[in-house]
Each structure stands twice: as structure tokens, then as C-alpha cells.
């Protein structure tokens, strides 16, 4: 099949200019495609900017804590803040989120408390997950967000399943599922796309193409011209959007969510972005990619680009910017301090939640364990 050159799966939907690393002359429009601007309210724009910056500052501090050995592991989303934050602003309270590796922040926008989120990084006694799950796998029952699976892929069919359930129950909820470019090679991706198409479920599937899957470049995952183009094979609409342009994302994801909610079926979106930092705290990206490439993408930083727009609109002065950052850092540091001082989870918690009710043999194992010295053995 020959696709027309204006096929949305081959193009790149944008509002803002790509490189806004240099300040613009007073009054110059930072938008390359003003006709695509979703024209959001001032309050919404301010809130979106606040959340993007908050995640950036939070990630920086978490990576620092990891290097100091205070947390075991962390995966930052630096450079990819726009997609999760834009998504959060497209959702209603009843909607569901099935994230991949880099969308945990959505729950923060939807009202999940920062201290609780941090407690999931530390896995201590303040953690509602009771120290069971790895950092960067946060979830919040209270805000309809599940955890991604460490084994890549399962969240996407699950997202479609949740969407089919919403249709079955007629709740009107929309489900958003995420996947990385690398994980599109997994069978689960294809199952999810196929089921979404066949069932016409109210879901939006978003692939954050950040160009790298640990050390493997996205061109080694697929021979397709783009990831978005794969939507055609499953008979569902696909769009390729600038993943560092929060306005473009808000427009595209918002439209897809509306379509899903109206019963018009699923959409597959490729958000083209870049992982500025390491894959996770266990990775050293300098061995597989060039500084020049990273620098090229730094110039397309999503926060920087949005900031230029905010300034153009007269919504952000130097003072307001400085004040905002100060407030956010204070909030984050206070929350970290609060969480860091909590005790590790109690030993008894080991035997909870394996089943709804604790079986007798686990009660026995608990008794045996508690006979021993409470100090963990050195390994």
C-alpha cells in the first residue's frame, strides 16, 4: 500500500518550533504551526508548566540520592516530561492509566501525594505498596494507575482489556496504555494493537519513541518508516507527534481521548522524543551514543520550548520562574526528608497479601522467621 505523503503516521504533528534553545526577540512567535495550538486556558498552561518542572527537579534529586546510595535504583524521564504531563491533562478522574517505564509522573498530576510517591522509591514503612515493588514502577489505586511490568510489554494488552471492561460496564472511562519503542518488538504489542482494533475498545495507545532501548537504537527494533505507521496494519488510526512539544501532545492525545470516549475506537500515537539521561541508574549511555546526538536533543528540550511559549504569552516572568523553582525544590526536599527518615518495612509484612487470606503454612513460616535475630543476615 502506498501512503500519501500527508499521512499522519509519517509526518510530525507540531505546534512549537523544534529548536528554541536560544531566546527569541521580544514578541516573536515560538510556534511553527500556530494553527495547531489547542488554545488552552492560562490556568491550564501554568499548571502544565508547573508539573513539567516539578518532575524534572524531582528526577534530578532522585538520581542524586541514588548516587549517594540512599535508594537502590532509579529511572529518570529527563527530556520526556511532555508526554506524561500532557496525557494527565487529557484525562477525567474515572480514566485509567497503564504506563510503561517513563510515565509514572501522570499520577502526580492526578492528585497522588508526593510523599506517597516517594515512599514507593524508598520502599519503606510509609509505602502503601509495603516495599514490594521496585522504584520507577509506581502505582496508585486511588488515581486509577497501575504499575508497569518489569518484564516488558504486558501493560499494553492489559490496557486494552481495561478498555474493553469499561465498554462492557458502560462506565465511559477511557484507558491509556504506554509502550517504549523497544518493547514494540514484543508480541504483547501486536496482541494489544490487534485486540484494540477488533474490539474497537475505548483506549489510546502511546509509544514514546525515545530513540534508544538501553543500548539498542530504534532502527534496530523495526524496519518500518515510523512506529506510528504500524497502526495501519491493525486498521486503527495512527498519529506521529512531536513528543517534546506539550501543546502538540495535548492536542493529539486530547482528540484521541475524545474519540475513544465517544465510542469511535482506539488510536495509536507515536510521540517522538529522546532520553537525555541514562536508561536507569545501572546504565552508562556514553558507551553507545555520541555527545553530539545528546546535544542536538538538548536543544529541543520540552521544558525550554514550553517556557518560550509561556513567556511569549506573557504567562511567565523571570521572577515567577525563579519563585516557582524555589517553591518546588522546597516542596520536594521537605517530602524527601519526611520519607527518608521512615523505618524499613516490618518483617511480618513479608507474609501479607500473597493471597487474600494468609494460608497456614505462611503463618508457620512467619513464626519460624521471628524466632531468629531481627537483624538481616549479611550477604
Amino acid at each position: 500500500m502506498a501512503l500519501s505523503p500527508d499521512d499522519p503516521t509519517l509526518g510530525l504533528f507540531q505546534v512549537l518550533r523544534e529548536d528554541l534553545s536560544e531566546p527569541l526577540p521580544e514578541g516573536e512567535d515560538p510556534r511553527s504551526h500556530p494553527e495547531n495550538d489547542p488554545e488552552l486556558s492560562e490556568d491550564t498552561l501554568r499548571a502544565m508548566f508547573r508539573h513539567m518542572l516539578r518532575v524534572r527537579l524531582l528526577d534530578e534529586r532522585m538520581m542524586m540520592r541514588q548516587r549517594q546510595g540512599r535508594i537502590g535504583f532509579f529511572g529518570a524521564i529527563t527530556g520526556q516530561e511532555a508526554t506524561p504531563i500532557a496525557t494527565a491533562f487529557c484525562l477525567e478522574e474515572k480514566d485509567w492509566v497503564f504506563p510503561a517505564l517513563r510515565e509514572n509522573a501522570i499520577m502526580l498530576v492526578r492528585g497522588f501525594p508526593l510523599t506517597q510517591w516517594l515512599a514507593q522509591v524508598y520502599g519503606n514503612s510509609l509505602d502503601v505498596l509495603k516495599g514490594r515493588q521496585m522504584p520507577s514502577h509506581m502505582s496508585g489505586r486511588s488515581v486509577n494507575q497501575v504499575s508497569w511490568s518489569s518484564c516488558l510489554g504486558p501493560q499494553l494488552p492489559q490496557a486494552v482489556g481495561a478498555a474493553m471492561a469499561a465498554k462492557y460496564k458502560k462506565t465511559g472511562a477511557v484507558t491509556i496504555g504506554f509502550i517504549g519503542d523497544g518493547a514494540t518488538s514484543e508480541p504483547d504489542f501486536h496482541c494489544a494493537m490487534n485486540f484494540a482494533g477488533v474490539s474497537n475498545a475505548p483506549c489510546v495507545m502511546i509509544c514514546q519513541n525515545n530513540h534508544w532501548a538501553i543500548s539498542v537504537p530504534s532502527k534496530k527494533q523495526t524496519r518500518s518508516a515510523t512506529f506510528a505507521v504500524k497502526a495501519h496494519a491493525y486498521g486503527i488510526p495512527g498519529v506521529r507527534v512531536d513528543g517534546n512539544d506539550i501543546l502538540a501532545l495535548r492536542a493529539v492525545i486530547g482528540e484521541a481521548v475524545d474519540r475513544a470516549r465517544k465510542g469511535e475506537g482506539p488510536t495509536f500515537i507515536e510521540a517522538v522524543t529522546y532520553r537525555i539521561g541514562a536508561h536507569s541508574s545501572s546504565d552508562d549511555p556514553t558507551v553507545y551514543r555520541s555527545d553530539e546526538e545528546v546535544e542536538l536533543w538538548r536543544r529541543k528540550d520540552p521544558i525550554q520550548r514550553f517556557e518560550r511559549y509561556m513567556r511569549f504569552k506573557g504567562l511567565l516572568s523571570d521572577d515567577e520562574r525563579a519563585q516557582l523553582e524555589k517553591e518546588l525544590v522546597e516542596e520536594i526536599l521537605a517530602a524527601i526528608e519526611n520519607v527518608e527518615s521512615a523505618a524499613p518495612p516490618a518483617r511480618e509484612t513479608l507474609f501479607e497479601d500473597v493471597f487474600e487470606e494468609r494460608p497456614w503454612h505462611l503463618a508457620e513460616q512467619q513464626d519460624e522467621l521471628l524466632e531468629h535475630d531481627p537483624a538481616p543476615s549479611a550477604h
Binding site: 537502590g72 518489569s150 518484564c151 518488538s185 514484543e186 508480541p187 538501553i214 539498542v216 553507545y288 550477604h379
Partner: protein, 328 residues
């Protein structure tokens, strides 16, 4: 004898077999340019090139199947799983295909393939990343299961695995890769046969059967118990299928007591299989019921204090030995 790390021992086995046999190739996620998630394949891409050291898309079911197809038609693939946890998406290829093809084809096809990678818990990677997969794979007729604890065993057994005409599940350990141990010189080729265990430590009072990572906890427990006058004999079966039951029984007939240590969960698995076989072959020689020490019967938590409780500890192993010895 020279000392090298477990990681280097695995690499040497792969390198030597690739040098000796052009049909052997290595395939998996990040095995080439990144030189392996745990640096096992360091230097192999530059030595053998992209034809024989193949980076794959993230699709375990895919490259397990690619390997099986290549093996059925004359090549000898070594398939690396970044960790064995990720083999679950390739289960059908391994269990319903690799393990069945010889038998279902009436012996007209075979699948000489090695699936390898780190097994078991690492450090604070939570439940989905911490599986000990040995119970799943040992249940399947048609595949060999190898679980070496030392660098020497890793090298000698991997060489045997690569030359084997049947599928082999080769279980390494993330926490074992840095372990150093004696390995024969490069010009002294050693192939360790499947189904032959090894005495890690001699003793007369109690046999401890241990394999994989907790082999080291068992050795530590034996040291501690020796100070209290209990001399343990540590027997490592090294391959779980086939199992060197003769060696285990011989040891138990000498010590009259036995504790089986394993990282997998307590329900079934090679731990239970070993107990079953020993009690049948050595019932009249046993002075106490055989005990087992494994992971607690819960999914692995993330918090490090809890993780340390779940895994078989030196304390729990020592306790079990005291129990079967009726000693306090």
C-alpha cells in the same frame, strides 16, 4: 591453577566453542555492541563479527524461535536471555517446541541449542526480576538443566552444553558473575559431563546438597557448624537434569543426615525431587527426616531488609543442620 571470575569462565567457554565450530553463534539482547548486560560477551563481537554475535530486537519469544529454527537446520545457537525472568515470554518455544521436537519427530529432528543467562534474585530488583526458574524447567522431559556454582563448573559444563545434541537450559547467576575460582589453563581443555556432581567440602556428620547461588551460603554455614563440632559434607549436583543421585546417596549413607538447600520456592521443584530420590535410595541409612531450606513462599519484595529474609540464609541453613542432627 589460575583464578578467573565466573563471568570470564562463561565467556571462555563460548569463545573456545565458537573458535572450534563455525556453526556456533551467540544471539540475544545487547550481547554485541553493549557486550552483554552483565559483560559476559565482552570482546566477542570484535572477535567474531556481527554474523556470529547477533543483537536482537526485544523479543524473547522471537529469538528463542529463531534459534530453534536455526538449530533444527544445522546451526548451534547459544541464546542469551538478559535474565531468565524474561524467558517466560519464550516459554512456549522452549517447552512445547525445543523440548518436544526430537520426540515428536520420531528422532528425525533435533535441537542442539543452549539457552543461558542469569537466574535467581540479584539485589533489590523485586519479584518480577527475581525468579529462580529451575523448578519450571526441570519438570520438562527433553531438556537438560545445568546450574553451576563455580567458575570451573561453569566453563566445563557450558562447553559440554554447546556440544550437546539436545536443548540445554544453562542457569548462571547475576550475583555469581564476580565470584573468582580456579579454572584449568587455557590449553588444558576440560569438559565436565552432565549428571556428575561434585563434593565441595568433605564431612562426616551431615550432607548438605546445594546448587547455584546458595552453594556459598551452605559453605559458610558448614564453616560455622564446624566450629561447633558438626562436620558437613557439601555436595553440589551441578546439573539438575540429569541428577547425580548416586553421589548424593553415597554421601548420605556416610553422614546419615541430609539438608537440601535451594533458592527456589519450597513447593516442589528440584529440592523436593532430590529429597524424594534420597529417601527412597537411602531410607535405612537416614537417622533423621531430610530438611529443606529454600526461599520463603512469597514473591520477592524490593526492600533489602526483607529480601535478605526471603533468601536461604546461613542462619536458616545452620538451623536446619542442627535440627536434623538433634543438636542445639
Amino acid at each position: 591453577m589460575r583464578e578467573i571470575r565466573y563471568r570470564e569462565a562463561v565467556r571462555e567457554a563460548i569463545r573456545e566453542e565458537m573458535e572450534a565450530d563455525e556453526r556456533v553463534f551467540l544471539m540475544g539482547e545487547e550481547v554485541g555492541h553493549y557486550q552483554g548486560a552483565y559483560k559476559v560477551s565482552e570482546g566477542l563481537l570484535s572477535q567474531f563479527g556481527e554474523k556470529r554475535v547477533i543483537d536482537t530486537p526485544i523479543a524473547e519469544a522471537g529469538f528463542a524461535g529463531i534459534g530453534i529454527g536455526a538449530a533444527m537446520t544445522g546451526l548451534r545457537p547459544i541464546i542469551e536471555f538478559m535474565t531468565w525472568n524474561f524467558s517466560f515470554v519464550a516459554f512456549d518455544q522452549i517447552i512445547s517446541n525445543a523440548a518436544k521436537i526430537r520426540q515428536m519427530s520420531g528422532g528425525t529432528f533435533d535441537v542442539p541449542i543452549v539457552f543461558r543467562g542469569p537466574n535467581g534474585a540479584a539485589k533489590q530488583v523485586a519479584s518480577q526480576h527475581s525468579h529462580s526458574v529451575d523448578p519450571f524447567y526441570t519438570n520438562i522431559p527433553g531438556i537438560f538443566v545445568v546450574m553451576p556454582a563455580t567458575p570451573r563448573d561453569a566453563k566445563g559444563l557450558l562447553k559440554t552444553a554447546i556440544r550437546c545434541q539436545d536443548p540445554v537450559i544453562f542457569l548462571e547467576g547475576e550475583t555469581l558473575y564476580n565470584v573468582k575460582g580456579e579454572v584449568p589453563e587455557l590449553d588444558e581443555e576440560e569438559l565436565i559431563p552432565f549428571g556428575k556432581g561434585r563434593i565441595g567440602r568433605e564431612g562426616k556428620d551431615c550432607t548438605i546438597v546445594a546448587f547455584g547461588r546458595p552453594y556459598y551460603e551452605a559453605m559458610q554455614a558448614a564453616e560455622k557448624l564446624a566450629a561447633d563440632g558438626i562436620e558437613c559434607e557439601i555436595v553440589d549436583p551441578r546439573t539438575l537434569r540429569p541428577l547425580d543421585i548416586e553421589l548424593l546417596v553415597e554421601s548420605v549413607k556416610k553422614t546419615h543426615r541430609c539438608v537440601v538447600v535451594h533458592e527456589h520456592w519450597p513447593y516442589g521443584g528440584p529440592g523436593a525431587e532430590i529429597v524424594d530420590q534420597i529417601q527412597r535410595e537411602a531410607f535405612d541409612w537416614l537417622d533423621a527426616p531430610i530438611h529443606r531450606v529454600g526461599s520463603l513462599d512469597v514473591p520477592m519484595p524490593y526492600a533489602s531488609n526483607l529480601e535478605n529474609f526471603v533468601l536461604p540464609t546461613v542462619e536458616r541453613i545452620s538451623d536446619a543442620v542442627r535440627r536434623v542432627s538433634y543438636a542445639k
